[in-house]
């Protein structure tokens, strides 16, 4: 009887995938949009803001964990994802120190103070974007392209002016660094879907409910030009594919994910059509993030044999 029983607690089945693999794949998925953004805003030197913001996110995670005597987790790339996402959500002309401030807020206040990766109650990058938007409204809403300041296509759309949908698809328009090119974002999103990192439920229910809202309340009915412009404008695509799908701040069950997507779609439509500013994706997503615990509660699957008719 030399054989010994190995006794261990669950989980017994493990996968090779780790947080760092997933985060690395998200970084790769973001690369097309990043590269396009840096090229698109080359006259505004957008690369400086991207590099500084990402570096500040990683550095503030390292410094915080060092000071608090916690295990250093910068190798899991989650801080890189947060910093990069934040940078893609900033206008290219933003002073670099504001990007740094946003990164510190995202990592220290939103992520680490609530317990680090997996514990944050809302998307850190979006929370930091909203923080900066409230702090520095002027700088955060001034969009420059090729040295000319002007409104984003979405603002034009809200003002009732004609917009070039083709430009919005390709991305040579005004906007934040990473949001302009729908094609670049979709290339990255396709990669993530093929690798199995994100699934279609959340983006699909988000975009479909948003389109339904726009059709009903937009005042243009089923006008495909108008709907396409709304879909390609602003941060909707970046938000739907990369930020709404954040594992930590999205529900687990399929039913919950659909509900969460519908929430975001309706809120985005509401903010865009009836709100004061032209864009509302970031607020819609973080408000829905806050609703996730409630969504999880009502969509909790019943164990076999429980429930049924009362």
């Amino acid at each position: 009887m030399n054989e010994k029983y190995r006794v261990s607690s669950s989980p017994h089945i493990r996968d090779k995938i780790k947080s760092s693999n997933i985060m690395l794949m998200v970084v790769i998925g973001l690369l097309p949009a990043t590269v396009f953004g840096i090229w698109n805003f080359r006259h505004e030197n957008a690369w400086i803001l991207v590099v500084v913001t990402t570096a500040a996110a990683v550095l503030s995670e390292y410094i915080y964990e060092k000071l608090m005597h916690k295990p250093i987790t910068i190798n899991d790339f989650s801080a890189v994802v947060t910093g990069l996402l934040l940078a893609l959500n900033l206008p290219p002309t933003l002073p670099w120190w504001m990007g740094v401030l946003g990164s510190v807020f995202a990592i220290v206040v939103v992520k680490q103070l609530f317990g680090g990766l997996g514990q944050n109650f809302m998307n850190p990058a979006l929370a930091a974007r909203c923080f900066l938007l409230i702090c520095f409204t002027g700088q955060m809403t001034s969009f420059v392209y090729d040295g000319v300041t002007g409104p984003t296509p979405l603002a034009d759309l809200k003002a009732g002016e004609a917009v070039n949908t083709m430009d919005m698809l390709i991305g040579n328009i005004r906007g934040t660094i990473g949001e302009t090119s729908v094609i670049a974002i979709m290339i990255g999103a396709m990669f993530l879907i093929l690798m199995g990192v994100i699934d279609l439920t959340i983006p699909a229910s988000y975009l479909i409910s948003f389109v339904v809202f726009i059709v009903i309340f937009g005042g243009h009915g089923l006008d495909p030009q108008y709907i396409t412009a709304h879909l390609c404008g602003g941060g909707l695509m970046l938000g739907a594919w990369f930020m709404a799908t954040d594992y930590v701040t999205s529900p687990i069950t399929t039913k919950g994910r659909i509900l969460y997507g519908v929430c975001m779609g309706l809120l985005t439509g509401l903010f865009r059509l009836f709100g004061g500013s032209a864009e509302g994706v970031s607020y819609a997503i973080i408000i829905s993030n806050l609703l996730v615990p409630l969504i999880e509660k009502i969509t909790l699957p019943k164990p076999f044999g429980k429930g049924g008719e009362r």
Binding site: L101, V109, F131, I134, C135, F136, T137
Partner: protein, 238 residues
């Protein structure tokens, strides 16, 4: 330390209403957009608190137990009305910026809390000093929150520019979210200081003091919520 100075120390440090008891959060978060608003609100509350503590302590043997709450409210409301008129008459600018929060002092839980838990059970003089201590503690809390918010959110303290002109104010700090950030940060800071003091053996709240249980106790931050018989305080949970 005699009873009166002990009351003031208790209100300012040990049971500071803002940072330890977490009472009166509504005015704390709403009016502290600048240091002057904080100090104005704090002093108005202090005035009401001293007067109401005094009167309620005087009347403590007359007020029947079953109607004590309405009686307290009437006393507090009278003094709040006086303060309201005085502020409107003599400092109209402060009156305008505090707005609705002056009449709302009536339902400030610090005032009713002190009337219920201290003034209605103790003689007049300690009750007055309890009001002074609690009021000053509230004033210090509000003013420090106001100073931090005004400094970061507008680059000023008491309306005087202290930051260089190149400083870009973080507007969020004078808006509602800033109140939560600053309050949380200051509470964390004072817990850190208190814990460091407790580790050195100073100011250790003995468990025997917690007669009412941890949930009702203002010092649970310092003692870590332990209901133990240990008097040494060495069981502080880090």
């Amino acid at each position: 330390m005699n009873k009166c100075t002990e009351r003031i120390y208790n209100g300012l440090v040990k049971e500071n209403p803002t940072f330890v008891l977490m009472l009166g959060m509504c005015p704390t978060l709403a009016v502290t957009t600048s240091a002057i608003n904080g100090i104005g609100m704090g002093l108005s509350t202090t005035a009401v608190l001293i007067m109401s503590n005094m009167l309620i302590s005087m009347l403590r043997k007359i007020i029947p137990d079953s109607v004590r709450m309405p009686a307290f409210i009437v006393v507090v409301a009278s003094f709040v009305t006086i303060v309201d008129f005085l502020l409107e008459g003599f400092v109209p600018s402060l009156y305008d910026s505090l707005g609705l929060y002056i009449p709302l002092i009536v339902v400030n839980c610090i005032i009713l809390g002190r009337a219920e838990s201290y003034a209605s059970k103790n003689p007049v003089l300690p009750s007055i000093f309890d009001g002074v201590g609690m009021g000053l503690g509230f004033t210090v809390g509000l003013t420090s929150i106001g100073i931090v918010r005004e400094l970061i959110g507008a680059g000023q303290i008491f309306g005087i520019q202290v930051m260089p002109d190149s400083y870009v104010p973080l507007t969020i700090f004078v808006l509602a979210p800033g109140a939560f950030f600053v309050l949380a940060a200051l509470v964390a800071l004072q817990n850190k200081i208190k814990r460091a003091a407790a580790k050195k053996g100073k100011e250790v709240p003995a468990a025997a003091d917690c007669g009412a249980g941890c949930a009702a106790c203002g010092n649970r931050g310092a003692c870590g919520g332990h209901m133990t018989v240990s008097q040494s305080g060495n069981n502080n949970r880090g």
